[in-house]
């Protein structure tokens, strides 16, 4: 098993930061999933791909855009027409999916090394993300499990809501350190803890 080397390592400072008056209103964490796998269905094979995702992960994803599910250590969600992301703390999920998903159905692309996963949790999580992204973060507009693709300037970001006040963010590895500085600076005024 290879060691995971994080692009955030030189700037990742565990502990409490920012305005300490009211304690920490958000907690930031690099979650380091062992597997981040992107699936793409050929046009017309979307339903078959969702069935294959259900076979492989147990997550039954609805047809609606951005539908997803999340559990403690794994999740799956749609983020574009005919495209899904499957994330698991365990390594090697790409191989499992490749066995279930033939080339007649679509493609399986293991991005575990190419994305950095950051979680943000806490009472001000919505507020911090609202500073970065032009999205409606209210729970009615962005329910638990739902995912959205967006960008902060050119930093393309996938967001999934995994709890009432928790979001998982996936950014390109090469942008991750810059993005981390940005999200820390954005959380400064509320006080934040890095886990």
């Amino acid at each position: 098993m290879a060691d995971i080397v994080s692009p955030l390592e030189p700037v990742y400072r565990r502990g409490a930061h920012g305005d300490r008056d009211g304690g920490s209103a958000v907690t930031l964490c690099e979650t380091r999933p062992g597997s981040i796998v992107q699936l793409a269905a050929w046009p017309g094979r979307e339903d078959a791909m969702r069935a294959a995702i259900r076979d492989a992960t147990g997550f039954s994803l609805a047809q609606a855009p951005g539908t997803g599910h999340a559990e403690e250590n794994r999740s799956a969600f749609g983020f574009a027409p005919g495209r899904w992301l499957v994330v698991d703390q365990i390594e090697g999920i790409g191989e499992t999916l490749r066995e279930k998903i033939g080339t007649d159905l679509g493609t399986v692309c293991d991005l575990s090394h190419g994305r950095t996963a950051i979680s943000i949790e806490g009472e001000k999580a919505e507020r911090v993300l609202s500073k970065l992204f032009a999205l409606d973060f209210a729970i009615d507009a962005f329910p638990v499990g739902q995912a959205k693709s967006t960008a902060h300037h050119d930093v393309f970001t996938l967001l999934q809501r995994t709890g009432a006040d928790r979001f998982e963010l996936y950014v390109y590895r090469s942008f991750a350190r810059s993005f981390w500085h940005l999200i820390c600076a954005s959380a400064e005024e509320f006080g934040y803890t890095v886990e």
Binding site: P43, P65, G66, A80, P81, A134, K148, S149, T150, A151
Partner: protein
Amino acid sequence: MLIACPYCGPRDLSEFTYQGDANRTRPNPMSNDQSAWNAYVYERVNTAGDHREFWQHSGGCRAHLVVIRSTLTHEIKSVAFARETAK
């Protein structure tokens, strides 16, 4: 300006990339009809009103879209996936 992506819902203009006039038709790549290529490359209808154009949701789901936009008011009349509607 908001564009209602058929997948993502209404999103800010800054997430989208304009990809040009969707009224023109590309000649057959094997064609050596100079006037057809000239029309495809250079001639535009320059509509004052509803204009059919390609956009990409490049800062989102990356889908290519066909948008009908009024060039007078910027009102977006319709948005659809290009793969379903492109000529």
